[in-house]
Symmetry: C2
Subunit: 321 residues, 2 copies
């Protein structure tokens, strides 16, 4: 029995279908490059700019797909989730666009800019302590009270299908990529990306990148056994979550390698991109950039796509301050 | 005798010619928009993103044109200028691309990121005190020693012609603009912009925008008499210079109005663009954005182009810190 039968991982065809369903609702974000960045990297990099996506992150793709797939009757009770940031905004806006309520559980220490954005989309916010347990308990009671459907940020095949649409667009624009790199948090983005590439461009390698201090996916991938994340002490606030059985299975099936980078490498890469490309990327997507800047992935004379996952930053607390 | 005969101001045809000469050497920067920004502004805004230009600013256009026009024999002695920032980088890179030396006089307090960039382009840097007099004296001795040609940042018809190419591209992309806004420092950008619009799209109004605390162009425009700038105490470090007779004449001939904004309005507008559009713009180009956000220019139901003049910021000293 192959891994894909143990837990039912999404197929390339499902990712393609998801893409066709959501493509009029999401931005087709630009793919950009920079000579200075290429000089530093020693290869040719193509940035898929999901920081320019609605809500400022790729998460809007998965949320739009998942909220859109809800049957009408279920949808009327609304949707709910817990999230420290981008997924919260994504569910809030996707619900608003479908005209249904959104209930968002957020940790007290979530970046202000993300809390304000969720509020602007008209969602109901419930704050909780910043532990996984507090989030889950609070969410449970919100769901019981409202009858809303829980939209998990990544342990959800429909989310993964939606996230894969970014890689489809990237490969449509740049079919000749040797490698695609993406950050790994809960694994939704890397799973969707790897499934998309496996069908669209089997020769393209997909490599996950992770902070060294939150290397659960790296350990899981190397040992073949799911490791929960031990520390959440990384500047890449989007990558503090653990893989699920589902995303781990997708990664085992379709991802070619996972590499890690240090906190300083993340901060340096992020600052370099801000200064040279004049675009705002959040620390999570500086992780794959750091990987190519520091030789963790060989891109000499290669063409590599990087999913720039988002651009939501609290400008009052920049990591180099 | 018309004003354009008193000092010889560039013609639309000269701006067009400059554009054709430099268009393969400069980036054709994108024109982008944002729903959230339009909601706040109450009109439709199109951002001509010169922050994505080579050296991170429109100044590369004028420098490329002016350095390119130098006769071979003169060019061999190199070029020289004094500049607190973007013009310095622009002349350094334009000289490098032509293969001639560049000598740059920079004030001691110039942002580090700009000093490093000039150095990276291989220019010779001479530091001086941060006064206009110190700059001019130091430049004079550099020119005497080297025989280099002084490239003035704006009091130079060829610079103005080059700067006008940004507006030509903007109007090619968006011919239906009601208004174009640009910041006013020494007046090179607004002059080139206004000359370009006068020929390309006479119905498009061109409005200059200035910090209230450095309102020399505003006063000059309103009184018809050239006023030197009194204070250089604005966060918009690119706009601390005075108009010249030449740029003042261009403005009198072709600019429709000049409006001013406060320091707080500049900082708020800049932060809003960083947060919502995920692009890095420097304070100088937040000035026209602040003008439309704060009702200084009526853009209700209008289409307005804004020249985003640059994106070079010292990330260690952001104005909201």
């Amino acid at each position: 029995m192959s891994k894909s039968e143990l837990v039912s991982i999404p197929t390339f065809e499902q990712v393609q279908k998801a893409y066709l369903k959501i493509r009029d609702k999401v931005h087709r974000t630009p793919v950009i490059k920079s000579q200075k960045v290429n000089e530093r990297a020693g290869g040719e990099l193509f940035f898929k700019c999901e920081n320019f996506q609605k809500v400022g992150a790729f998460k809007f793709r998965g949320a739009t797909h998942t909220v859109g797939e809800l049957p009408e009757e279920k949808a009327q009770n609304g949707v709910a989730t817990h999230s420290s940031g981008n997924h919260a905004q994504a569910v809030a806006l996707a619900a608003k666009q479908r005209g249904i309520p959104a209930h968002i559980v957020m940790p007290e220490n979530a970046p202000k800019v993300k809390v304000n954005a969720v509020r602007d989309y008209g969602a109901n916010i419930t704050f909780c302590k910043s532990t996984q347990q507090a989030r889950e308990t609070t969410l449970k009671s919100v769901v019981e009270e409202t009858g809303a459907t829980f939209i998990h940020p990544y342990d959800n095949p429909e989310i993964i299908m939606g996230q894969g649409s970014a890689a489809i667009e990237l490969l449509e624009d740049k079919p000749e990529l040797d490698i695609i790199l993406a950050p790994v948090g809960g694994g939704g983005l890397i799973s969707g990306t790897a499934i998309a590439a496996s069908g669209f461009s089997p020769k393209t390698k997909v490599i996950g990148t992770e902070p060294e201090v939150a290397n659960d996916a790296y350990l899981s991938f190397k040992t073949g056994k799911l490791h929960p994340v031990q520390s959440t002490n990384t500047v890449a606030d989007g990558l503090r979550t653990s893989l699920s059985e589902l995303t781990f299975s997708c990664i085992q099936e379709h991802v070619d390698d996972i590499v890690t980078v240090t906190e300083q490498e993340i901060i340096d890469a992020m600052r370099f991109i801000w200064e040279r490309m004049k675009i705002i990327i959040e620390p999570s997507c500086a992780v794959p950039v750091a990987a190519v800047f520091n030789g963790k992935v060989d891109i000499q004379n290669k063409r590599a796509g990087i999913i720039i996952s988002g651009g939501n930053m609290d400008l009052d607390s920049l990591p180099w301050q």
